[in-house]
Symmetry: C2
Subunit: 610 residues, 2 copies
């Protein structure tokens, strides 16, 4: 039997009560964290969003009826308690903000009883994530998840106010719209009014924000839900949130400037961390050469070195073969790892293979300066010495090499570098290292499509000084594109857009689109561009990922209130679900016989099957 | 040929330049509003989001090449201009913020040329809305639309900051989810991973915000996109934006208090209007009795009067028949409208019929005190006098009566009242009259479903003092529900929710749901309620409608950047559209043969057919 709160008014949240209130009457409401009767006194830890407050019931203070009721309190019951704030009679609890006081109850209402939850409501839960997601409404009571969501709310509030102060307008763009050229798979929404046609949910507000610049809104900002129907990874969700902006009459430096100040404000206000401005910038070329990645983690070294020149005349076919093939040989010096057991080195090689390496060559520099190497027999002593010198090898170091097409070498060593850093304990979770990656290639060659594709998107502006190569050597043209990278994660990215029709045409040519094809794909944007378009540029953050990093979480599911799991389903609501045939008929669609057969097979499968 | 802005930096927006800058060098960028050569000087009105600035080109100042280029400027070209701020040489333009100055140009870059737009970019456009929506990116350049969207952005910013200051957390709820019990038609999203199943787009975050209260978030706020697949009216869109909140440990007064302060802040900061607090409250019963509407427009009188008692013994069958049928007879005094021509009175009757009236009875009180009436012959002189007296009739007044079931009488006279106010010029667009409507009936009888349905939703809390009637006379039970009404528009509404399981069970009983049915519909919320639920209450605003009223617009399309039209399509993007069969096959769905046939018929129809 639940009681009403009619006539009562909460005076404080739990941790808003402090020693400053001693002697005052308060009314607090919340969940029972725990309750125990110790020596005829009932101790109740009352919990709300703010934290925990100790309440005590003594029969002499609250009367027999109230005391008896207090005896019924169990974990997760919701209670409203009136009482007087007192200095804590027992030992002060240093772990609680309210550890030096307690409320001596004078009355109690049980607003809601509770069954025993299927798992304990506690920090750093050991309960399997599937169970927690099924009962997400209970999981969300855990203090760590509450801190994450409170942080996310703060990030949004601070960002919005900052952007408003900088003259950005928050403008909503449609959710029921047409495919955008992001290239991922769209979620579709069947139309009832026009059966056989479909809306697409937006992969990003890209085209709309560019249109808003054409319309003269000058500075646009939106925290926008975006959708991609892709297979999920740990840090992907079918719906995710983008902190999205676009600016008119600007160039790269303007976008970087406003975003550096935004990030500095967020990190200062949320984490009390000072980001040194300006944030370091690095060209894409340098990032790839030094770190094998366009999102380098700068918290540790382990830089890549190109040793192609050093090994070009050796007899080791793996090296020379890669070079003859137009590839490179690059290495990493895992300093001090020379004593790594052979088994662990083999594990590194297996790890490298998952990133496309055929293998890894290595040199162990023994403490006495001698080498143990997988390929020493193909090298002269001078060649070995030169190679070790090129890698700054010292006694006790382990040198690892990959030889292949440069793209593969980068991928392999870029991943290996991060893996080694983890193994070597070089990753400091308390350090935030930002870097802007700039001057991305405009185009990248797709073997699959046998044409160039846009590295960012087809509206990305080439660097003016590289326009001269756009016909002769399109792969050499760099773009006015930039990513902001934090601790090895791309947290945002953007570009200056093309606003000149001749350059846009050239770009479509490079991508192999005819005018008609370009128009079919991007029609209304190209139409808009006919009527006077300002130079403009923008950037978008993955808000979930940014908050995940700020909150030091490993999964974006821990910063989203109601996330989906890997198969894009919600374990709590059971969405997606079957619907009435009548509903589908109204939309002019039906489930295909193939899908029906699959459903039947699934339904008739034994319930305990995996 | 478009030029680059590389190397240039905008120093001011157009109207940020003022007489304080006279003598300074400035760099301005924007669209050419108009351009003319007058006596060898080229005058250019440059426009951006902020407004218009006059720039002049004189060959002696800017050189021949620049002057020639300036001669090519046409409307909607985008230009970057460097120049010096001077006191305006010609007459001061009082209509412009920058009317006392001009910029004497020293250099010009044409950043983008423009074709002649299909309609003029001007305030209060006379262009047909369909044309404007097709070229929405041009329509959005018009200053009135820009003002609306800027206002909307401000409303969101102020509301969010206010809510954050009040301790509300902004928490995102899912877009890809399950049906909510709002009762309107859902938009569905087919799942690719689980073919044959569907997500629903949310009609509101109702269930999720209640779950967040169960999870202890205490105060939730979100500006949330919502979706309803209903046939559209002027103030409805398939996707719309709700300003949504929920609070724990509160009762009606707490919700009303925070919302009154929110509204007062918005109207003060946006319109510089002081809303008198507290806002008037009126029970649903009073609103219906006096205004025939649960969203009464209080800017004018024309109140309804119940004259059932006065006419109960007359011989006029329309009146007595309605009364015998359990109905009522009610009237409106259209003061001073006694001279309305018969034709116009007939038009009023036709108008009333569209709201379900069988007709309207009327009395004209002539200036000499005599009556002209459609039903005088059925009345004694005393009865006529009593009726006129009951209506406060004076010479020159027109009294209009409806007799029917009370619900119909209310609907008819409620609509007639607003219609008369328009005709009589009683509606002052500059006045904002708020009123809270409270104590709604908990249930309303549905003849169609032959059962009670929830007037708000099944989680709405009954008033404690009416719980005694819930078995004997459920229709008499009032709810802790409230709407906030502005000038005859419901701009928001909400309720205290049920948090006691016994009351919730009783509610489902009233609605005719078995336990199993209730669980099927609202399962995960009811599950959540088992584990300790706080008393909670909430409210949601239709943000588009609120901004529409603040901006004095007649259509919510004028406060939405990219709206849909009546058939839920977007004239600019052409969404919804056909998609590849391959895409559908991946989702396990296909277009039905019936829909295919319809599509074929449509495609083969002559292009010029209506």
């Amino acid at each position: 039997m639940a009681e009403s709160m009619q006539g009562l008014k909460r005076s404080h949240r739990c941790t808003e009560v402090s020693s400053a209130n001693i002697g005052e009457k308060v009314t607090v409401m919340g969940w029972v964290q725990k309750s125990r009767n110790k020596g005829g006194i009932i101790f109740v830890d009352l919990r709300d969003r703010s934290g925990i407050l100790q309440v005590i019931f003594e029969e002499s203070q609250c009367g027999a009826e109230c005391f008896e009721k207090a005896g019924k309190l169990r974990s997760e019951f919701v209670a409203a308690i009136e009482g007087t704030v007192c200095k804590r009679a027992g030992a002060v609890n240093e772990n609680l903000a309210t550890g030096d006081i307690e409320v001596v109850a004078s009355s109690l209402r049980i607003l809601s009883e509770a069954e025993t939850p299927p798992f304990p409501i506690e920090e750093n839960s050991k309960t399997k994530e599937e169970i927690r997601l099924k009962y997400r409404y209970l999981d969300l009571r855990r203090p760590d998840l509450q801190r994450n969501l409170i942080m996310k709310s703060k990030v949004a509030t601070i960002a919005r106010q900052f952007m408003a102060d900088e003259g950005f307008l928050e403008i909503e763009t449609p959710m029921l719209t047409k495919s955008t050229p992001e290239g991922a798979r769209d979620y579709l929404v069947p139309s009832r009014v026009h059966p056989g046609t479909f809306y697409a949910l937006p992969q990003s507000p890209q085209l709309f924000k560019q249109l808003l610049m054409c319309s003269g809104y000058d500075r646009y900002f939106q925290i926008a839900r975006c959708f991609r129907d892709e297979d999920l990874r740990a840090d992907r969700q079918p719906e995710f949130t983008q902190m999205d902006m676009e600016l008119s009459f600007v160039d790269v430096d303007d976008v970087i400037d406003v975003n550096e100040r935004l990030l500095a404000k967020l990190f200062k206000e949320i984490l009390d961390l000072d980001i040194q401005l300006p944030i370091q910038r690095m060209t894409w070329q340098e990032a790839m050469d030094r770190f094998g990645s366009d999102k380098p983690d700068l918290r540790f070294g382990l830089e890549l070195k190109d040793v192609s020149d050093v090994v070009k005349d050796c007899e080791f076919g793996v090296f020379t073969g890669a070079l003859a093939n137009g590839g490179t040989v690059r290495g990493i010096n895992a300093e001090g790892q020379g004593s790594m057991p052979r088994k662990k080195i083999d594990a590194l090689i297996e790890y490298a293979k998952t990133y496309g390496a055929k293998g890894l060559a290595y040199i162990v520099i023994n403490e006495d300066g001698s080498y143990k190497s997988s390929f020493a027999k193909f090298m002269t002593e001078e060649q070995m010495n030169a190679l070790v010198a090129a890698m700054d090898g010292k006694p006790g170091d382990l040198l690892l090499f990959a030889a292949d097409k440069t793209k593969i070498v980068w991928t392999v060593l870029g991943a290996l570098r991060c893996h080694l850093a983890e193994l070597m304990g070089l990753v400091d979770k308390n350090v935030y290292r930002f870097v802007w990656i700039t001057e991305f290639p405009l185009l990248e060659w797709s073997d699959e499509e046998n044409r160039f594709t846009a590295m960012h998107h087809p509206f990305t502006m080439p660097m003016e000084e590289d326009l001269q190569y756009i016909d002769s050597d399109p792969g050499r043209v760099r773009a006015k594109a930039y990513d902001i990278v934090l601790n090895g994660n791309e947290i945002g990215g953007g570009s200056v857009r093309i606003h000149q029709d001749d350059i846009q045409e050239k770009m479509f040519e490079c991508l192999g689109f005819t005018k008609a094809e370009a128009h079919e794909r991007f029609g209304f944007l190209l139409d808009a561009f006919k009527y006077g378009v300002p130079p403009h540029a923008g950037l978008a953050y993955g808000l979930d990922r940014l908050v995940m990093l700020m909150a030091k979480q490993d999964s974006i599911r821990d910063v989203i209130a109601f996330p989906k799991v890997k198969d894009a389903s919600c374990l709590m609501t059971n969405a997606p679900d079957y619907v009435d045939d009548k509903q589908l008929a109204e939309l002019g669609i039906e489930v295909t016989p193939e899908a029906e057969a699959e459903i039947e097979a699934e339904k008739s499968a034994p319930a305990d099957a995996e």
